[in-house]
Symmetry: C2
Subunit: 365 residues, 2 copies
């Protein structure tokens, strides 16, 4: 293989695919990036066997060929070089890299030993607006679990119901659900790993729409010259809908920023008690007050005004409430609950009204 490429293109491409290479892996070749010519382009690819990313970049191919080299080393190296032309040449299992003042050899491994990169092409892919997809990912992934003991909870559940497309994630202590599409006729039902969604968010560029290709076990997304393929999570997502009460006895409508700021302050005093804070909604005073008590260090009460119906108390994990408020973009939110033994529901009241809900299970106070 011999190609001419610009430092800018190669550095950008390696940056995109490099993130899935390496990490904790028992297969050393997965720390490498696959570099191969593809007609008059260069294909960069990396995989962790769950997610694979490939990136095509424009190059001048003098001799076709391929090799794999350590992803981190070549990525750090190429991004340290000044802008300009770079020549890449494979000889045996070595990659020679030449540019104006730099000459390097990186020891590689034959491309034949690299796992094959799968792809999926649906006849009828899902088309989603990019902004919508970005918001959906941001607003749901936060509630996904990181506990590998229950794999289905480490993903987000993309599914159709009542002619709508929803995305939901839960770690069993909290749940986030976002409506992705209205008036949706297809039948869709898949659990996408949260990590895959985060990587998809990273590769989305300025395009207006994105197409989601999928089959029984995989999804594929293409953005510009980048292609991401991921396994889906096998299993059945919990029937969460029945857990969300339609009505609640206590409701407060409040500025999201004020609720966030009093929650953050209360959280400082809740470090000893694993983040436990108690919200008291008071109809007479039309306010919510948040109390946290750290027996060792002291105690705090913070209050904010809102529009209140009903009075009551609920004890929540402050981190969950902060996480939820951080992903809601609307200025005003509604928080509702009935008692300390039923869920607390947080919803946006602006543009996103009716599209998103975030449910937090109470702590025993």
């Amino acid at each position: 293989m011999k190609v001419q490429v610009t430092q800018e293109n190669l550095a950008r491409g390696l940056g995109i695919v490099g993130r899935v290479a390496g990490g904790r892996t028992s297969l050393p070749i997965l720390t490498n990036v696959l570099i191969s010519t593809d007609k008059n382009q260069l294909r960069l690819a990396a995989t962790n066997l769950e997610i694979a990313i490939t990136q095509l970049i424009g190059v001048k191919v003098e001799t076709p060929g391929s090799i794999t080299v350590p992803a981190k080393l070549i990525s750090d190296f190429i991004s340290s070089l000044p802008a300009g032309n770079i020549s890449l040449e494979v000889e045996d299992s070595k990659l020679h890299i030449e540019s104006d003042n730099y000459s390097s050899t990186i020891n590689g491994v034959s491309a034949e030993e690299f796992p094959s990169i799968p792809t999926v092409e649906s006849k009828e892919p899902l088309t989603i607006k990019t902004t919508n997809l970005k918001d959906t990912i941001q607003q749901t992934v936060v509630a996904a679990s990181s506990d590998e003991a229950r794999p289905v909870l480490t993903g987000a559940y993309l599914h159709s119901e009542d002619s709508k497309l929803y995305c939901a994630a839960t770690d069993s202590y909290r749940l986030a659900e976002r409506m992705v599409k209205n008036d949706f006729k297809k039948q869709v039902n898949m659990i996408i790993p949260a990590r895959t969604l985060s990587e998809i968010q990273r590769i989305i560029d300025d395009q207006e729409e994105l197409q989601l290709h999928y089959d029984e076990s995989q999804i594929m997304v293409r953005s510009g010259d980048t292609e991401l393929v991921s396994k889906l999570i096998d299993g059945k997502f919990p029937a969460y809908r029945q857990l969300i009460p339609a009505e609640s006895e206590v409701t407060i409508k409040i500025a999201a920023s004020e609720l966030l700021s009093i929650t953050k302050v209360a959280a400082l005093f809740a470090r000893e008690s694993a983040g436990s804070i108690t919200l008291e909604v008071d109809k007479d005073k039309q306010q919510v007050s948040i109390a946290s008590v750290a027996s060792q260090v002291g105690e705090n009460t913070s209050t904010a005004q809102g529009k209140v119906q009903g009075s009551g108390k609920i004890t929540l994990n402050s981190r969950f409430l902060i996480d939820a408020l951080n992903v809601i973009h609307d200025d005003e939110v509604k928080l509702r609950f009935s008692s300390n033994s039923s869920p607390c529901i947080l919803e946006p009241l602006g543009k996103e009204k009716g599209q998103y809900q975030h449910i937090i299970m109470p702590l025993r106070s």
Copy 2:
């Protein structure tokens, strides 16, 4: 104690003194900040028994008094509050904090149990230009040791010699020396902990000059309403001057940015060999080339043009060369050495010419 204070002043003051509180300490009260009234001001103080910082802030004192409370909690708490007036009131060993929507109690410890904060007032303090002091600290502290086994090397040596004031630091593998004052008549000789110098750099504000008060065992610096007192390091600094050769056989004058960039690239290939890179200065080609070999991963050679006298090779720790180049502000530098068994000297060639030198001991290649 009862005082009224603005959130802005209190948050700023706690931010300044808070950094020396806490850390690894066997004396729990050192994680606290001392809060006490001082006439019509509030004095905040923290100490780690090596460095103490006190900060005066303007307040409205209703009742004088004092208390100590956990520095991190009160600092995080006050900085989370919105701007505006805050009331602080001590009752028994509790500090009550009230502002518009927030009401907190922090459990404290009596101020009597707090170590006394020393001070030093010299009749003839050293006066140093702030910009000069900042550069001196930045350019010397980088070479100080972090190995507590040889305490004198964890500090910077401020000393007079030949009517000049110098500051020097070394970890025995490299040495940085900066001339602080010319035409200096006093006799000065002290070893200031590197950590103290970093803290001094942090508290210096926009004033033009700074006065260094000192006695046998302590120094004190005052900047605005902030006062820092630190112990000096007891011991004898190595007689380093004799180790710096006046002349070298090989010299290259080169753009600092180019030398830095080829060193950084070479360092990527030197991770396996503990950062070891070999510089080859070539008189015929008027260039320096840096080679690094990582037997496992590959090898690299980078070159840059310069004005060369003499030819030769030297093997250095790439991190030390990067550190040195990062603290030199001039565009052009001179690098000189005689062989791989004598020191390599790096000097700025612009405004800072003659004021700074950075010596790096070679590695056995």
